[in-house]
């Protein structure tokens, strides 16, 4: 220290200032931003991992569904196959008339009473029909009802009214209210 003259001291001070400047510049303008970039990129990688896992899980579920789907689709196709094409008012009364004709009741009247979209069955409607059979034999009518219930799975009888005819105590008049599911 004894040998340091004024010139030396000035040079040391200048060197120290330069060193401080270099260190500050290095950390603030070079290493700092690079480390921040690395951290941000690593965070993006970490954020992508669950997304990729989720996508892979979704793909696995899709594969599992592909195995489950055929019986369900076959079942839906079977049910849809039971619903004829066209407006129900064009075919349902014909189906009912034919069925009761086969049972021996020549005359029957089928009228649409209400029609509404089924909230629980998207794409399907529920139609209520009033069916009148002016003259039937009670036992044969029971058999016809059994046939209707067995042959038309989408039809459900909501109410039945069988009344004896005054002019012919052996015969009855029948009023049915039925619900039908259509597309």
């Amino acid at each position: 220290m004894k040998n340091l003259n004024k010139d030396h001291i000035q040079k040391i001070a200048l060197g120290s200032l330069m060193a401080i400047g270099v260190v500050y510049g290095y950390f603030d303008f070079l290493l700092g931003p690079l480390r921040a970039k690395t951290r941000s990129t690593a965070a993006s990688v970490t954020a992508l991992d669950p997304e990729i896992s989720k996508a892979n899980a979704q793909m696995l579920r899709a594969k599992a569904i592909a195995k489950e789907a055929p019986p369900v689709e076959a079942s839906i196709a079977t049910i849809n196959g039971m619903i004829p094409e066209g407006a129900p008012v064009a075919w349902f009364p014909v189906v009912i008339n034919d069925l009761f004709k086969r049972a021996g009741f020549e005359k029957s009247t089928t009228k649409l009473t209400t029609e509404a979209a089924d909230k629980e069955l998207a794409g399907y409607r529920r139609i209520t029909w009033a069916i009148e059979l002016p003259k039937v034999d009670c036992l044969a009518f029971g058999a016809a009802v059994a046939e209707l219930e067995n042959q038309e799975p989408l039809v459900e009888i909501q109410s039945v009214a069988i009344e004896t005819l005054r002019e012919d105590p052996e015969a009855q008049r029948v009023l049915l209210t039925v619900n039908n599911i259509v597309k």
């Binding site: 060197g15 120290s16 330069m18 060193a19 260190v23 909501q158 109410s159 069988i162």
Partner: protein
Amino acid sequence: MSLRLNLYHEIHQARSARKRDPLKISLYILGGVVAGFAALYAVELGRYASVARELSRKQAEFAKLEPEAAAAKKREDSFQETQKINTKLVKGIEDRFYWAPVLQQVATLVPREVQINKLSGEVQGTGLRKCQLTVDGLSAGGDPRRVAEELRQSIAESFAKTFRAVDVKFRNLDDGSELVMLDGRQSPTASFAISVNFESGEEPATAPAPGARKKARGAAANSEPDLSK
């Protein structure tokens, strides 16, 4: 001992002074620090490049998976909707209330002393069905009221075997004014109206727990609908 004289002492002193130059030494130290910093930067850059490559690889993987996963999600949603509709349709078909067996049951219970004038029935609800049946008729015989009561009891016993919450009661039972021929004899009559209330089917299931829903979904998917009924 010989005497040695250093005639270059000034040159040597100047050389030593140059060697001890603080600026020079500082520059050496600074150079070393800069080299260290450069090495650290290179390492950090290498680490960044590795992470960036990993990100790029994962982004490419995700970019490939994302549309497939979106399509799979769409298929899953569509399938779940189809499955829900299928389950409801099949359940609706299987849980229908069948009137033919009820009519048959009533027909077999009516004795020859009774004439049914009117039979009406109605079913309400889904799942658990509340059913109401009204039987209006005329009974005849020595004690027409007893005949009507026997019919009421036989309906109650028969329906109790098949349905739940069976309640059979007379809405009215009155002596008839007319006489009818039964077994070649004039017999008094009674007009009656029997009301039959009963329940059929099952209570609709309450919303299942999330775990139970998964199990039910699997079970529903595996079950083949029975449409042969």
